[in-house]
Amino acid sequence: MELKSTREAYGDALLRLGEDNSVVVLDADLSASTQTNKFAKKYPERFFNVGCAEQNLIGVAAGLAVAGKTAFASTYAILSNRAWEQIRNTVAYDNLNVKIAVSHAGLTNAPDGASHQSLEDIALMRVIPNMTVIVPSDAVETEKAVISEIHRVGPAYIRLNRVKTLYIFDEKYEFEIGKAVKLISGGDLTIIATGTMVHEAMDAAKMLAEENIRACVLNIHTIKPIDKECIIKVAKETGAIVTVEEHSIYGGLGGAVAEILAEKYPVPMKIMGVNDEFGESGEYDELLEKYGLTARNIVKSAKELLEMRR
C-alpha cells in the first residue's frame, strides 16, 4: 500500500502554487523537515530562510503579506506556537494572508520527545479570531487544502505530520473548507475524527460493524470554522459521539464539538486524545498505543459510551 506524509504533500502543493508569482515561502531552518526545500530549490528568489527565529518568521511573513504576497510560513508545530502572540496581534488581527503550515504535529515527532511534540496547538490557534484551522487527514486532502488556501483571504494554521500514512481519498476528492466529510454511514453512534485519527476511526467503525454496531464516521478537516450543522445533525441521528484527535483532550476537536452540542443538542460524548499530559520519546506507534489513540481503543470507548446511554 502506498504511504505518504502530509508534509510531503504540502511540499508538493507548494511546487504547484509556485507558478503564482505572489506566493512566497518562509522557513525557520527546518526546510528539509517541513518539505519547503522543494519550493526553495525551484523558486529560490521567493523562498526566505529566517534561521531558527520563529517570532521573526511570523513577523516577516506578515510584512510580505502586507505587501501583497501570500506567505506560507513553516516550521514544527510546537515551534510555531512560540510566536503565538505575533500570530494573534499581527497576522490574525489584520487578517493577513499568512498561511502557517506546520509539520511534526501531535505525537508524530515521536522519538524527539515531549519538547518537540505538539499537543496543544489546535486549542491555541482555534481561540484566535480570524484564524482558520485545518487538520488534513491524508496526502490528497493536504494538497487540496493547501491549494485552496491561495484563493481564500486571511490566515490559516495547517497542521501536518511527520509520519507516512495511508491514503483516505483519491484525486477525485473535492475539498471544501469548513465542511465535514462523512466517510462511513451508521445510526448507532458517530465517531468524529481529525488528522491522523481519521484512519483509525474508520478502522474502528469496521471493527464495530463486525459486532453489529453501526458507527458513522465524520472527518473534520476544518476545526475552525467547524461544520456546526453537520455535527448537530449526526448528534440527532445517532445520539452518541466519540471524538478522537492526536491532541490534548482540552480545547481541540473534542472541545469544539462539545461547545456546539452543549448548547444545541447535548448527547453522551467521549473525548479521546492525550489526557492532559506531556509526551515522551518512543516510536510513534508505541506512543499512540500508550495514549490509547488506536482503532481498538476507539472501539472500546464506543462500546462504553453506548453502555452509558442505555
Partner: protein, 272 residues
C-alpha cells in the same frame, strides 16, 4: 540642501503635532504622551519631507512605507496622518473612544496605516517583510520603522535586525527613538542597552547617531540612509521624552498618563 525656511516650516509642523498629541490624550483621558512627544520631530520629517506618499491615494503601490513599531506613540502618528490629509483633523479627538477608528495603538483601519502594531518588538520584522517584497518586485519604495529604545529589549528586534542585514535590505531604515526611558525607569537601569549603536553595527547595519529632536539632523540622516548600498541603516535618534514641554522632559511619570487641566494650560502655552 534644505533651506532654513523649510526647516522652520517642519519645526512649526512638529509643534502643531505636539499640540494635537496633548489634546488627543487629554480628551481620551489616557495614553502615552512622553514617547509621542519625543518622536514628533522624526514623524513630522518623515511625512512632510522625506517620504514619498500620497494621502489622496493611500494604497499607491510605489509609496514609501512606515511602521510605528513603538505603537504607544500612536497619537503622534495619527496627528501626522491627519495633518497630511489622510483623514479630517477633527477626527483626532475620537482617540481611544468607542467606535472610533483611532484605536489606542496603530490600527490598519486608519487610512495611511498599512499594518496594525503596538505589541513591542514586532515592527522591524514586518518592515523586513515589506522590504523583501520591495526587492522581489523591484520596487523603489523605501521602508521606515520607528522603534522605542526600551523596545530593543525584545529579542525579536535582534532576530529582525539579523535578517535585514543578511538579506542586504538597503531599502530599509530603522529609527530608534533613544529617549533613555522605559516604563519602569531609565533604560540603563532597567536593562542596559549601551553600547546601542555598537550593537546595531555588530549586526551589520550602517549606523548614524543624531539629535533626534533636530529636524536638520533627521533630514541629513534619512538622506544618508538612502545613499547606503548593501545594508540597512539604523538611526539612533537621541531624544527627550516629553520633548517640548519643560515640566515633562525626562520625567517618566508622563510615559503613560494624560495631563491634568492645569498642566495642559501650561503645556499649550509653552508650545505657543
Amino acid at each position: 540642501m534644505i533651506d532654513r525656511e523649510s526647516i522652520k516650516g517642519l519645526e512649526d509642523k512638529a509643534r502643531k503635532i505636539r499640540k494635537h498629541v496633548l489634546n488627543m490624550i487629554y480628551e481620551a483621558g489616557s495614553g502615552h504622551p512622553g514617547g509621542a512627544l519625543s518622536c514628533a520631530d522624526t514623524l513630522t520629517t518623515l511625512y512632510f519631507h522625506t517620504m514619498h506618499h500620497n494621502p489622496l491615494e493611500p494604497e499607491w503601490t510605489d509609496r514609501d512605507r512606515f511602521i510605528l513599531s513603538k505603537g504607544h506613540a500612536a497619537p503622534a502618528l495619527y496627528a501626522v496622518l491627519a495633518e497630511a490629509g489622510y483623514f479630517p483633523v477633527k477626527k483626532l479627538s475620537s482617540l481611544r473612544k468607542r467606535g472610533s477608528i483611532l484605536q489606542g495603538h496603530p490600527d490598519s483601519k486608519v487610512p495611511g496605516v498599512d499594518v496594525s502594531s503596538g505589541s513591542l518588538g514586532q515592527g522591524l520584522s514586518i518592515a523586513d517583510g515589506i522590504a523583501l517584497a520591495g526587492k522581489l518586485d523591484k520596487k523603489v519604495y523605501r521602508v521606515y520603522t520607528l522603534l522605542g529604545d526600551g523596545e530593543c529589549d525584545e529579542g525579536q528586534v535582534w532576530e529582525a535586525a539579523m535578517l535585514a542585514a543578511h538579506y542586504k535590505l538597503d531599502n530599509l531604515t530603522a529609527i530608534v527613538d533613544r529617549n533613555g526611558l522605559q516604563i519602569d525607569g531609565l533604560t540603563e537601569k532597567i536593562m542596559r542597552l549601551e553600547p546601542i549603536a555598537g550593537k546595531w553595527r555588530a549586526f551589520g547595519w550602517h549606523v548614524i547617531e543624531i539629535d533626534g529632536n533636530k529636524v536638520e539632523e533627521i533630514i541629513a540622516a534619512l538622506d544618508e540612509a538612502k545613499s547606503i548600498r548593501g545594508r540597512p541603516t539604523a538611526i539612533i535618534a537621541h531624544t527627550f521624552k516629553g520633548k517640548g514641554i519643560s515640566f515633562m522632559e525626562w520625567i517618566n511619570a508622563f510615559h503613560g498618563r494624560a495631563l491634568s487641566k492645569e498642566e495642559m494650560e501650561i503645556a499649550l502655552q509653552e508650545l505657543g
